[in-house]
Point group: C2
DNA sequence: GTGAAAGCGCTAACAA
DNA sequence: TTGTTAGCGCTTTCAC
């Protein structure tokens, strides 16, 4: 059931079988064929543990995610996976599972056990202790999305991305723009939300525009959060545009509020730090009886598939490509390559149907 | 850097150190403390490969997904992960990566390498060869969602679930109901889509209703696919309800078609085999100028978060719980438990705002 | 082109 | 309660 059996059956030595199985060139072709055939017949299954012990390489890399069910993480994970698969590496998933996930234990217990040859961290900012712990493992590490001190990083420049969005809105003539962002709902320590908010503020300033505090909202980086933020911005009556929500939270205001929705003090554009939130804001706007982009323009960041279908303007990035890049980089390092700095990932404005010239221009 | 160092420093034997590190009760408390302290100081990191080799247990389970970026798989994966984490097991992700994913190689190369103690298969139907291959590894296996011959399965009864949906629609008075389902976009060999279609057909028959062939559409189990299916059903003009789509595929018909959209031969209700598709159908209906549920009722299956926000009627299931159940079951088997049959997972009707009495009733 | 022998770092009888 | 002695299944010098 191991390499030994094959050796016995073929009358070869363990070492030759080992070499043959790996197709080494020092082995006669006929021997390789024979060994492979016998291995098949015996139903031989190699043991990665044994190979790993002997070589010190596990042929696996770990991917650490704050939470698993977010568009960006899923896509990036897919990219990492694709590249690992190509290289014949396995992927070990370490899900911190949000705030309730016992982050410390997870870190210690598993990630360090030499089960993997390298680590890809998704959008994580590590604290001192965590960094120290991970250092122990001495394997290559890289971060996707959100720069972490002392570690290589692949991802877009979030400040620039936010700037692109603001520039687009301003070029259309918007001056009253709201921002929906916020800390990731999972409450993990992630830098991206703050960078985007800063980028928004900087760009607004660069255009000589003021940021209104009450127009900077928390959308929890989720669809539902976007809807909530939109409600705050536009009011809510659920009369039009979207299906009424059964058991909607927050008492519905009626007629009076309705009228005010179109006249009330509100932004002409909303910039959201993610497409999921932007989708929610669009829905809230429609529910409030507002026309998008006639009454209000909305845009996001990401390039989410739903946004494409719906016609959402966005600054698109490619998390799958980022995942691939990260995987390749870290694999190269495992193979003894020297870690070279990575360029920021590309992002580009995709103008679709949710942004337009503000009414009255 | 290994257990040996600690032994040397403490003056203990390797075995005692090993036992102490694992906190075995046969070791003196003081010894345990001492060993742990020294281990910390030395920055000791255990080797799971070595432990695995010695014990024959890897303390890891593999999860095989057809593709990774689908709501159900992500949720189920999260559930499996949570339970594994609790038990101190690692999770190795095997992503078949859709039709282009070189399914065979992936199967052979990795899943069998004794890297994991058990396998959780998501919605996969295996062919003969695959089954045979996996048998070689001789480890416990379980399937989530979609029964596979000869393997234990956790998931809802898809035929029943479809029946619940049809019953709901019929109880409202619908007789003209369309079905949007189809093979999973990834083209993997999955049973669920067919079971749901069968369930739909059976239930319709039970209500004495005919299934119209031209109202059985392929929505590719995706949001975009749902929109496309909705277009076929309702026509498309993009004038209302949804944001117009930049570069929409399929030439837009204008005024004439528009008028016909409200009068044309169309179903009064659409049952979708997933919430993502249902969301797309709702959007298409709104774009076609139809009121939901006034002109047409729409419902799905799953319990997707977006559906909750939007008010989508659905038959909700809990993939996270299914993942947990599967993980627990397979872990129990790893621990020598006897595999007992699992009851179907619960699913229940959630009536929200997208279904109602057909007009004229 | 192939074989013999020595580990990789840990666990698990079996003794003491 | 702790130490001794064998391995777990593979890779890898070093010989031949």
């Amino acid at each position: 059931m191991g390499i030994q059996e094959i050796a016995t059956v073929t009358g070869l030595s363990k070492s030759t079988v080992s070499r043959a199985l790996r197709g080494m060139s020092t082995v006669a072709d006929t021997t390789i064929d024979q060994v492979r055939r016998v291995a098949d017949e015996l139903g031989y299954v190699p043991s990665s543990a044994a190979a790993g012990l002997a070589t010190g390489r596990q042929r696996a890399v770990g991917v650490v995610v704050p939470v698993i069910d977010r568009w960006f993480y899923v896509k990036a994970l897919g990219g990492v996976d694709a590249e690992l698969r190509r290289a014949g590496y396995d992927l070990v998933l370490y899900n911190l599972g949000g705030p309730g996930g016992d982050r410390d234990r997870a870190f210690r217990r598993s990630m360090l056990r030499h089960r993997v040859d390298a680590l890809v961290l998704l959008s994580l900012v590590l604290d001192e202790t965590e960094r120290a712990e991970l250092e122990l493992a001495r394997h290559p590490m890289i971060v996707i999305g959100g720069p972490a001190a002392g570690l290589r990083n692949v991802g877009v420049d979030d400040v620039v991305v936010a700037g692109i969005a603001v520039d687009h809105l301003c070029s259309l003539g918007h001056r009253d723009v709201a921002y929906v962002g916020g800390q990731d709902e999972a409450g993990m320590n992630v830098a991206v939300p703050w960078l985007r908010r800063d980028g928004f503020a900087d760009a607004m300033a660069a255009h000589g525009l003021a940021v209104r505090e009450d127009w900077v909202l928390d959308g929890r980086f989720s669809f539902a959060g976007g809807v909530d933020a939109g409600r705050v911005l536009f009011g809510d009556d659920g009369a039009r545009g979207g299906i009424r929500r059964a058991g909607a939270r927050g008492g519905s205001r009626s007629a009076g509020a309705r009228a005010s929705a179109s006249t009330r003090d509100r932004p002409t554009a909303v910039f959201c730090a993610s497409d999921e939130m932007a989708l929610g804001v669009v829905l809230a706007a429609q529910r409030a009886g507002l026309d998008v982009p006639g009454d209000v323009s909305v845009m996001g960041i990401d390039g989410h598939e739903y946004g494409e279908v719906v016609g959402l303007t966005t600054v698109a990035q490619d998390p799958v490509a980022q995942g691939r890049t990260a995987a390749r980089a870290v694999l190269a390092e495992v193979d003894g390559g020297v870690p070279e700095p990575l360029a920021p990932a590309p992002a580009h404005l995709v103008v679709r149907a949710t942004t337009g010239v503000p009414r009255g221009r």
